[in-house]
């Protein structure tokens, strides 16, 4: 689809925000607190921070909540009544302030939740999300989007991508139908495209490797000491998976209160030792090394093999939060 370019004034951003709220949309945007920056529901433009590299958490919870009701039930001695936990009625959500890597992550995520078994709970939510991303002007040593076919100004996944220009105003690239709809609803705020080039305003993210090459190399790397070596310090927590914008492993859990209850889907992580444990006591992935291998291979080999899209967008969140400082980039580049 043709990308339409516009200029949006710095001062118009707030108006755009207010219009979105005014139209009954729920807006999630980065909010800063002492030790973290999170995508949170915001009511006023002033609550939003623009001083962030990436948020601590990923935006995925908007479409894949960390705990989601699948259905509820009521049981009597004779009958079982199941009530679908439909997501049809979820409100429209604007994700404001996603980075290009965040937006790109929605592509593999949507892949996972479709295929032969489309997940309507996910799809309903995804259908109501508008992704208003902001290009990256800065990066750090954990960023490697350019190594996984992304870039600090990548438009893939976003509905509109804003890039701050030297004037303080923004280039708005309108990528999708949804984006165009938003522009149409706020026509007065979008002006003719600026002259200024986008590229100089983007961060320079070093390219460490090439996704396709890595994919090829990983084909024959199942048995390799690198997995144990690089995961030795791994504590077996799930922080990497939970902050990852692509990771979507989940568990299904029931909660019961007397004769009523719910079945829930909740986040899970391949890093947990119990993830694959059989009731018999057998565990196909016995060590943290095997689990780390699964994480890497899943993202850089299995997913691209299956659906042509890598399972990593190079945001670097997992490495930033890892309590044992295990660095995904380090593992991948050491291969």
């Amino acid at each position: 689809m043709q990308i339409d370019n516009y200029l949006i004034r710095q001062t118009s951003l707030e108006k755009l925000f207010n219009n979105l709220i005014g139209n009954g949309k729920t807006v999630f945007a980065p909010q800063a607190s002492e030790k973290r920056i999170l995508f949170e529901k915001v009511k006023a433009f002033s609550e939003i921070t623009d001083n962030y590299l990436v948020t601590t958490n990923a935006a995925k919870s908007v479409v894949f909540p960390r705990t989601e009701k699948l259905f509820s039930y009521k049981k009597t001695k004779e009958t079982t009544e199941i009530t679908d936990a439909s997501t049809e009625a979820v409100p429209e959500v604007v994700l404001w302030g996603t980075r290009p890597c965040d937006a790109a992550a929605f592509i593999p995520l949507t892949d996972t939740f479709n295929g032969d078994y489309p997940d309507i709970l996910y799809n309903n939510r995804r259908g109501k999300v508008y992704l208003l991303s902001f290009s990256c002007a800065t990066c750090d040593e954990y960023c490697f989007c350019t190594s996984v076919n992304g870039s600090p100004g990548n438009t893939a996944g976003s509905d509109i991508l804003f890039t701050k220009l030297s004037t303080g105003d923004y280039l708005a690239e309108v990528i999708t139908e949804k984006g165009k709809k938003l522009v149409a609803e706020n026509q007065t705020l979008f002006e003719a495209a600026p002259e200024e080039e986008k590229e100089p305003n983007l961060a320079k993210v070093k390219t460490y490797f090439n996704q396709d090459e890595i994919q090829a190399k990983l084909q024959n790397l199942f048995e390799n000491p690198v997995w144990d070596e690089k995961s030795r310090a791994c504590l077996g927590c799930g922080s990497c998976a939970f902050v990852c914008p692509v990771c979507s492993c989940f568990d299904i859990q029931d909660e019961k209160h007397g004769s009523k209850g719910t079945r829930l889907r909740c986040w899970d992580s391949c890093g947990f030792s119990l993830f694959t444990l059989h009731t018999s006591g057998h565990n196909p992935r016995e060590t943290q090394g095997a689990r780390w291998r699964q994480r890497i291979l899943h993202k850089f080999l299995y997913m691209p093999d299956k659906s042509k899209v890598a399972g990593c967008v190079g945001c670097g969140r997992c490495s930033r939060v890892c309590p044992a400082d295990i660095n995904i980039l380090e593992t991948v580049t050491s291969i």
Binding site: I120, S248, I252, D268, T276, P284, Q294, H298
Partner: protein
Amino acid sequence: MNNPNIYIPYLMRIEKITQEAPGVKTFRLKFENKQEAEEFEFKAGQFGEYSIVGVGESTFCIASSPTRKGYIECTFRQVGRVTSALASAEEGDVIGFRGPYGNTFPIDEWKGKNLVFIAGGIALPPMRCVIWNALDLRENFEDITIVYGARTVADLVYKHELEEWGNRPDIKLVTTVDPGGETPDWKGEIGFVPSVLEKVAPSAENTIAIVCGPPIMIKFTFPVLEKLGFADHNIYTTLENRMKCGFGKCGRCNVGEKYVCIDGPVFSGEELKLLPAEY
């Protein structure tokens, strides 16, 4: 019901409960909803998610044959929370079922061939489905041999059916128990499945071998089959990794690139050799 929400189970009423062995039960399940019953189809080798609402779901294969319409059966051992809750269910209770999931045994391709079924312990159920399927289409196949072993005589499941198969002239049934697991009046073999198989030595000529059992049994059975001249592509088995969703999303049943729930659970020997040892 055909609910677009893929997580919503069918409601099925337990029609009959059979105690197969200590801690092992078979449920015969019937759809609560007539329309669902009519629309439901599955093939040999497929599995489902059985659940008690409020407790959770558990994965087992469908143990009845697709040729027997109107109901499905499952056989399970009581080990964890869900299987314990299932085990305490009574006839007439309603449980949940999602499925069928996974691939199937290519039974149509086996027309005109000999079949050897090799199973150990609680792994007979996935086999039972395909055995009955083959028996119900008996004329499609040549010789049928079943080698089945368990730890003890008490642990053999489907005892009544074993008796029935044993009495049929068109099946060769060999049952065995581990040394020490026999009773005084045990008439079958004594020994582990792989060695009994070696003794029975079915011809590999025009024969398909279907193997189901605990990892240790599989590990020792494959070399025997190889020795007997079975080509990898004529051997089939099923894998039982831990699963939650059953349709390739929850992420825990990967064996390498394959999802056991959608790419399996049925794998040929040929495919299995390409998989990393992650099962």
